[in-house]
Structure formats: structure tokens, C-alpha cells
Amino acid sequence: MTPLTRLRLLGGLCLVPLLGLGGRLWQVAVLEHEALREQAERRSRRVAVQPARRGRVLDRHGRPLALDLPVDDVTVDLTELDPALELVVPLAAALGLTREEALARLEVARRLAGPGRVAGDAQAEDGADDGADPNERLVLGGAPLERAERARKALRRARALEVAFEPGGLAVTVAPDVLRARDRTLGRLAPLVGRPLPALVAEVDAAVAAIFAQARRDDRLLAWQRPLVVREDAPFDVVARVAEEGWTLPGVAVRRRWRRLLPRGPLAAHLLGTLGAPTGEEAARDLAAGRVLDASRDALGLLLGARRDLPDDARLRDEPYGRTGIEAAYEGRLRGRPGATVLVRDARNRTRATLLDLPARDGEDVTLTLDAELQAAAEAALDQALARHGDPAAGGAAVLVDVRTGDVLALASGPRFDPNTLGRDFPEHAADPRHPLVHRAVQAFTPASTWKILTAFAACDPEVGVPPGWTTECVGILDPRARERRFRCDGVHGRTDLVRAVERSCNVYFFRAADRVGLDRMAEHARALGLGAPVGRGIPGERRGQVPTTATKPARAEAALEALAGWRGRLADALRFPPDPAAVDVAARRLTRATWWAQACLADRQPQPGDARNCFIGQGDVLTTPLQVAHLAALVATGGRTPWLRLDAAQPPEVRRFDLDPAALARVREGMRRVVTHGTASRPELGLRGLDLAGKTGTGERGKGDPYIAWFMGYYPASRPEVALAVVIDRTAGHGGEVCAPVARALVDAYRARRDAAPLDARGGR
């Protein structure tokens, strides 16, 4: 080999690998560029989300009924706070300990490490050493050499731990600074949040222990991500101080959240409704639809896509849904859109810059037609009536509507609850026999004699009915000779025309009208006057009520049988191996109820000749909501030009025209006026006599010995109607007049006071 050959060989050996590296460089930098660039982006981005403020719910004068209150919590991220936590699992694996034991050893070492040298501690820095090296590594434990290989493997990722091999075995040591980091941070945090350090340390310790105690790994991983709240609802100065120093405190953050507050507690609670965290199903659906902002991958997909904006339905994982009432019905307007900030983060997860800042969009305020003062008066009167007349399971509702615009001014339900403490009180409310959570103002009840206002118009049917001036003789009972089923009246009314029938609530008059008109014809009239369907627009939860026809009973029996078969099938499914005890239990109970209901329906399957008579006096299968009854009163008050009832002040009033027989209308109006002056609600102690009020009482029977259902409906002023009202008390010993009239009186008084103080603006608003 000549020297030249040798040099050439050397040259080749040196330069060919360099050429190869050039090729590899091309591969990485050009061919794999796209994928690697994306990885680099993902690694260096972090998304911070801000919840949106939910819109307020205001009454017609702009007084807030529900609003979002900002709450600032000071939180710590446990793993960021304490780097030693990452060592627990590798240490346990290396030394064959349980996680708890490993944690305990680290705690002992932490105590041994002490606070160490604190920056600015002049004495320590001057080197006034007491002999001990503050940076000496602390021994966490040892193991025989047989375990050495395993220990080494286990500790690969734990860089703060070191294995020292000694002739007799191995020792695992840790740098003391890792152990000191937590208490240094907490020591600075404690004065900021105004809590003693030992309490903070104990709280962090307890949280860590609780997480390690969880059996499932997934649960633990999830729990580590959840920051620990060390100061809830922190005042402004605390927040400011933490924010100022936070960047030097690893893991410490201020988290802004919104808390729904109903400033007036139980006021209109049923109507306003509640919020609830998403169910598992909803969460899965939202995630699948890609609109959950804080599921990190999706967030980047949402934010770093071409549009660099968020869809309107983007939401946070734990953002509550409106569940009931206004909160549910106006969800779309009330909820805002959460904001997001895309931050540049470094390898130690510290924020370095902001790439994209989409501020949260607050929800829209919703103004209701409700008047908070009238609502308060209605609720107070209702509470009083329930306390005085109700039986232990009684409940009631009171409705006040403006007949000119359809504005619902008060929509009260009793008994009430305080939504602000519902989370705590829920079990108590759920067990309460009075069912305080039920929104009775939109539920359907037996209308009893208030229904006679409708049947008054049905009775005057031009084809089959009686003429408006028709009279009949009431002897207290429809047919004294009847043996089996006796249709009674409350009194002996003698010669009775329509006016007197309404005034005295004479059943016999309406029985006889029923015999002529029939059930189906009555149903037609009822539907024509808006019954059997919602009378409001945008009133959450409003029921349709029920207008019976001859087909009602057979259809109901059929539906009951179908339900019975359905539950039987569900039970069979639940019993299939392996049986699910909970499902079996539910299905069996539902099946029992369905059987009972089907039996009842089958027994009452055939239309009876007395059905029409019963329904004409508002008994039997007739069901109406208090809103419908108030609407019926408004119908009489306006002579058939009645607006849709509305709650949303932004929705323009819309008047419907109903066809009312003028002669019958005049008589019904007179009858209703006389109810208050001479009739069923005219007793002086009820206090209605002096008011320019027209009304109608009702007392429904549920069965022998059962408490009554008491009603009062009316409009005010009788001469020039402005408002209509309906009051119902379910389960009471008293009659409609005596139970409900005081509530009506309170409503009218409150309305007069409000009207004189601040005239109602026709459009609602402030």
C-alpha cells in the first residue's frame, strides 16, 4: 500500500460518513419536515381557557333575578408544586415498596433536608457552616445487589434520584433541593393567601395521600390534573398579590370561575330553573362533536385550524347546561362562548408568549316580563295561604298576567326552595311530601268550577246548546228520582239563568246544558278557546292540560296497556343473564305501577253517560294549568281579543282573536262580577267586595275524604280590565273562595300599588 493509497483510504473513511449524514439531514429536514414541524408546534403550545359569563335574567324593570358572580380561586397544581411527587412511583418500583411507603420515605427525607439555604439569608451565604453540607444527597433507602438491575431500570426516568453502588448493595439518594421545592413555594404562598403554612402543608399532604389511595390508575391521572383549591373565593387583594408573584411560584394559579347566584334567593326559583353539570352522555356527545374546548387535543384542533376562531357552540368540559326553567329554555341566549388563549410554553411548562387570544364572549341578558315585586307579593301571599289552609302535602300556584300585552307579571309556585343552596338541600327537598321542587304554575290540575266559564260559552252553542237567556230550576240535585249516581249541587238555587249559574256556581244548570251539548262539542269549544294547548309562548315547562272527548278513556286504556307491555319487556330484558339488580328493581316497580294504572284505566274504559255532566263542571278528566285558567279569565276580560302569554320581554305581544258569543259574554261578565259582590266569593272577611274585581271560585273534589283543590280566577278592574289572575291551592280543607281569595286580594293590592308607583311600560323593559 503506497502512502497515497493509505491517505485516500483515510479520506474515504472520513468523508463518506459525512456524506451519509448529509443524506440523513435531508431526510429529517425536508422529507419529514411537515410532521416534525407539527410535533414541535404541539409541544410548545398550551391552551388556557376562560369560562364565559352567563347572561343575567332580569325582571321587567331590569332588576336581576339570576346573575353570574365572578369567583377567584387560588389553586395549586400538585405535581408542578412538588417535583418530588414524580419520584414516588419509580422509588417504590426500585425498592419494592408500596406507593404509600415510598411517599412516607420522601416525607422523612423532606424533614431531614429542612428548609436549606434560603436566598438572601446572609448568614448562611457567608459560609457560617455548621458542618453539614446543605446539598448533601439524602439516602432514601437501600437494596441488595440482586435488585440493582431492577432498581436502575426503575429509576431511569427519575433524574433527581441516583443509585450509588456500594460493595454491600446499592443506595438510592435524592438531591435535597427537589424535596425543598414544595415547602419553599408553600412558604411563600401561605402569607399571600393568608393561611398558616402548617394548614396548607397538611391540606396538600391530605390531597396527595387521597390521590395515591385511589385504586385505578386512570382516576389517579385525572386527579393529578385537577388543581387543588387553596383559597376559595379569594378577595381582590389576595388575587392581585398571587398574580404578581405567581410566576415565581411553580404550580400556583388564580382560576376565575362564575357562580350562578339568585340574589333574591327563592324568588321565582321555579321559573328561573337550575343549571347542571353535563351528564356522561352529554359529555361524550360534545366530545365527539369536537366542541369541547379544554380537551387539549381538540382545543388545538379548534384553535390552530385555518380559521383561528371558535365555533359558537364551543364549550368547556365542566360548563353547566341549563336544566330547567328559564335557564334551560333560554340556554342559547344566556350562555356565552368561552374564551381561549393559545400560549407558548417552554419545556418546564412555563408560559412564554401569547399566540392567539380569543376573549370569552359573555352571554346575553334575558329580560322577563315578570315584575319582581309582584312576584314577591304573590309568593308571600301563596306561602301564607298554604300555611293557613293547606294540608301537610299542600302546594299551590298564583298567576298574574297583563291582559293587554299578555305579559306574565307574576308566576308563583309554592312551597318554594332556595336554588342558591339547592346542592345542599336537595335530598331534603326530594323527600318532602309537598314536593317543593315542582313548578306548579305550569302543571295541570282539575279546574273544578273555574271551568264553568268555558262551559258557559259551550252551553250557548248556537246549534245544539241553550239560548243565552235560558233558565232552569235547581232543586239542589239534578234528578231526585235517580237511584244510582246522583248529580248534586252545592245548594238549592231555584230558578237559575246563566248569570246566576256563574254567580252561585250552580251545577244543575251546567248538568242540564251538558246533556244537550255533549262532551265532544264541549271539547271543540274548549280547543277553540285555546284550552288543551299551551296559552303562552316561551314559558318553560308549560303543560297542555287535558280536554277530554269520548275517545279519551279508550285511548288512555290502550296507552296504559302499551306501557304495561313495554315495562314487561324491560323487566324481561333486565332479568336476562346476568341480571342487573338495579335495573330489575326499577323495572319491577314501574311494572307494578303500570299494572295498577292499566287496571284503573281498563275499569274506566267505557264512556259513561255522566262523563259530560262531570266534565261540564270541571271534574272528571278535565285538566288545566293555572296559566290556562288565567288566560280564560283574560279571554272574558278582553272579550276574545287575547294576547299570547309571554315571559320574554323581547318578544312582541301578539293578540289572538277568539270567537265569543256576545250575549253569553255579557252574562258571564256579569256573573263573574256578582261572584265577588253577591256570590261565592262575596263574604266580607274575604276582602274582595270593595275591589272592582270580577272572578270565579272553584272547589274540586278528588274523592271521598280527600282534601279539596281550591281555585280563584278573575280579572281586574272589572270595568276596564288590565290584569287577569288565577290562584290554585292543591290539597286543602277549605273552599275556593276562602282559601284562594286572600291570595287574589294580595295580588290585586300589590298590582295597584305597583301601578300607582310605576306604570307598567307596555313593552316591559326598564
Binding site: 500500500m1 449524514l21 460493595p167
Partner: protein, 398 residues
């Protein structure tokens, strides 16, 4: 004063001065300072600490380069036992007095400056071994001669291994192999020695080492590759290079380096910073500079007729190429993670000064090659002819 400026002589000197070599070094140092400045940039500013210090070291390195290039290398070579012994003394001293960094006791702490004698040993070894090989001449082709030369390399190799700094110790291997190979050692001897070393390993393993020492070594070997997060580091560096693409993201505009994902970005992984900020273009430029530097050294070696000078050049070329290949290979994820810096580019005074001393020595060789060629009456004239003659005789005699 009697001092007269001989402009002609100066002009001749300037003409003879190996400007290309100096140019390569200056360019690489420039890239280094720029890369370190870029590596120090962060979204919120950053400090120029590393770049400034590297600039200082670069100036010191240039000074060393000039000093070494002006000293006649053959005179230095003749004093190799003293220089070599000094180097060994430093290596022994560092074992006793040195500071432990990253598990290896390889640094002298002298106030603000830290010195790594094993880096300085690289040019010293090239110098010493080249002289010994040249002295041995054709005897290098015999096994005995080769063994003598090997002794010169093995002592520092062992001392560095004791620190333990496997990476630097392994750098001595290409220096030695290249010098003895260029000096005429037989390929089969080299291969045989290599096979022998391999064969000895299990014996040493089984009989000489205590259990805990084995574990220490295993742990060390393993740590180099995995335990210090080798996979993590390489993943990050590959992402950095890939995200740079063709033209790079601009100085300090990337994510991997400035945000701290890329570990050791001032030292071992500085090539990834170059590629992230200036893309394939910057990376290829650096690789090209190294390739051309190595080619330049080898070309000079070819022109040099003095076997000692050639040995020095070849040794330096080999160690430069090895370091570049091992380091860039690691950064590109095709070589295991070892702590070998990129010559002249990585931050670090000892490495930079040692490299510049080496290249200064190479410049001295290149400069004096001309002198040797121009002064035919000198005893070192026509060494090639003499060498070949001896080789022939040795071959005939063997």
C-alpha cells in the same frame, strides 16, 4: 534600533501561510458564536452569556492558532516526552483534584474558568504519536513497533477512561489509528489488535472486575444511551431539525431551542440549533465546512513529505471527522448518545482552545512543508525518499 522590517520575507511568509485552513476555522467559529447567540434567544429576550464567552474563547483560540502555527512543529515534536508527560500529569492530577461534572471527574476548576485536560491531550497525542511514528518509520510495520506506538496512546486513553469519560477516550482511537496507519502500519496488525482488544473484554469482565464495578460500568454505558433521557434528547433534536425545514425558522424564532425542549443546546446539540434556525441550508453549510476542512487537512498531508507532519495532519483530520460524525449522527438520531462535542461549534473553552491548538499545529506543518521543500540542504530534506528506501530495506530484510 537596528530592527529592519524585511517586507519581502514577510510577504513570503504571508504567501506561505495556510489561509484556507485559517479561513475554515474562522468561519466555523463565526457560525459557533452566531449559533450560540441564537441558542440563547428566548421569546422574552434571553442573555448573550454563552455567545459572549464563546467569542472570548474564539479570540483566545485564534491566538493559540497563531502561536502554534508560528512554532516549528518539528522542534515541538522533538520535545514530545516533556509535553506528553505534562499532559499525563494533568490527567493524573485531574483524577485527584478535579471537579466532578455529570459523573466524570474531568475538570479543573480554576476560578471562573474550567479546564478539561483530556481535550488538550488530543493535539498533544497527535504531536507525540506523529513524532514517535515518524521515528519508528518502517518499524511501524512490525508488530513490536506498532506496540511501542500504541503505548504512547494507551496511557492517556486509560487515564481518561478512569475519569470515566468514555467519549473523550474514544476520540484518542481515531487519532492513533490514523497516524499509525498513515505511517505505514499494516492493516492486519491493526485489525488483529482490534480483535485482540475485543477478545480481552470478556476476560477483563469476568476476572478483573468486582460486581459493583461491573454495575457501575453497565450503568454508565446504559446511562449514556438511555438513562439520562437519551431517547428524549434525540427525539427533541430530530424534531428541532425537522421543524427547521429547508430554510429554518430564523434565529430564536423556533420552538425547540428557545423554549428549552432541546437539551444541551449550547454544547452537544448545537447542531440542532443551527438546523432549527437556519434549516437544511445552515446544516449543510456546517457539514460542508467540516468536510472541506477534513479534505484540506488530508490534502496538506498528501503534500507534506515529512512523515511527522503528515502524521499530525492525518490524526487531526481523523479526530475532527470522527467527532463530527459521532456528534451530528447523535443529533440526527443515527448514533448513540455520547458526550462528544462538535469541534469549534460546541460551547466550551477547553475543547475550542484544544482544537485551535491542533489546527495551529496543522498550519505550522503546512507552513513548514514549504520550507522543507525549499531548503533541500536541510537534514529533513526528501524524507519521503528516505522513508521509502528504509521501508524497502525493511521489507527486504524481513
Amino acid at each position: 534600533m537596528g530592527l529592519r522590517l524585511d517586507t519581502r520575507a514577510l510577504g513570503r511568509e504571508v504567501d506561505r501561510y495556510p489561509g484556507a485552513l485559517l479561513g475554515h476555522c474562522v468561519l466555523l467559529l463565526l457560525v459557533s458564536v452566531l449559533a450560540l447567540r441564537s441558542a440563547s434567544l428566548t421569546p422574552d429576550g434571553g442573555s448573550l452569556h454563552f455567545a459572549e464567552r464563546q467569542l472570548g474563547w474564539a479570540l483566545a483560540g485564534l491566538g493559540c492558532f497563531f502561536a502554534a502555527s508560528l512554532v516549528p512543529y518539528d522542534r515541538l515534536g522533538r520535545r514530545w516526552p516533556a509535553l506528553w508527560g505534562l499532559g499525563l500529569l494533568a490527567l493524573v492530577g485531574v483524577l485527584v483534584l478535579g471537579t466532578k461534572v455529570n459523573g466524570a471527574r474531568s475538570w479543573f476548576s480554576l476560578g471562573p474558568v474550567r479546564l478539561q485536560p483530556s481535550e488538550l491531550m488530543k493535539p498533544l497525542l497527535a504531536l507525540a504519536l506523529a513524532h514517535v511514528a515518524a521515528r519508528l518509520g518502517p518499524r511501524l510495520a512490525t508488530f513490536g513497533g506498532l506496540a511501542r506506538a500504541a503505548l504512547v496512546a494507551l496511557v492517556p486513553f486509560g487515564l481518561v477512561l478512569l475519569q470515566p469519560d468514555l467519549g473523550t477516550a474514544l476520540c484518542f482511537v481515531p487519532i492513533s489509528l490514523a497516524i499509525v496507519f498513515a505511517g505505514g502500519a499494516r492493516l492486519r496488525h491493526l485489525l488483529g489488535a482490534f480483535a485482540g482488544a475485543l477478545a480481552c473484554l470478556p476476560l477483563v469482565w469476568c476476572f478483573l472486575l468486582a460486581e459493583y464495578q461491573k454495575l457501575r460500568i453497565l450503568s454508565f454505558l446504559d446511562r449514556d444511551e438511555h438513562a439520562l433521557g437519551g431517547a428524549y434528547q434525540v427525539t427533541q433534536s430530530v424534531i428541532a431539525i425537522g421543524s427547521g425545514g429547508l430554510l429554518g425558522r430564523g434565529a430564536g424564532q423556533g420552538t425547540q431551542g428557545p423554549l428549552g425542549f432541546l437539551p444541551e443546546r449550547h454544547t452537544d446539540f448545537v447542531f440542532a440549533v443551527v438546523c432549527e434556525d437556519w434549516g437544511l441550508l445552515g446544516g449543510a453549510l456546517v457539514l460542508g465546512l467540516y468536510a472541506s476542512l477534513v479534505a484540506l487537512l488530508l490534502e496538506q498531508a498528501h503534500r507534506t513529505r515529512d512523515p511527522e507532519g503528515r502524521g499530525i495532519l492525518v490524526g487531526l483530520a481523523a479526530v475532527t471527522a470522527t467527532q463530527v460524525v459521532v456528534n451530528v449522527g447523535m443529533v440526527l438520531g443515527v448514533m448513540p448518545v455520547t458526550g462528544i462535542p462538535l469541534p469549534l461549534l460546541s460551547y466550551g473553552g477547553s475543547s475550542l482552545v484544544a482544537s485551535m491548538l491542533g489546527f495551529g499545529l496543522a498550519a505550522s506543518v503546512a507552513r513548514h512543508r514549504s520550507r522543507v521543500a525549499l531548503t533541500p540542504g536541510a537534514p529533513r530534506e526528501a524524507p519521503e525518499r528516505r522513508g521509502t528506501g528504509r521501508t524497502e530495506r525493511a521489507i527486504l530484510g524481513a
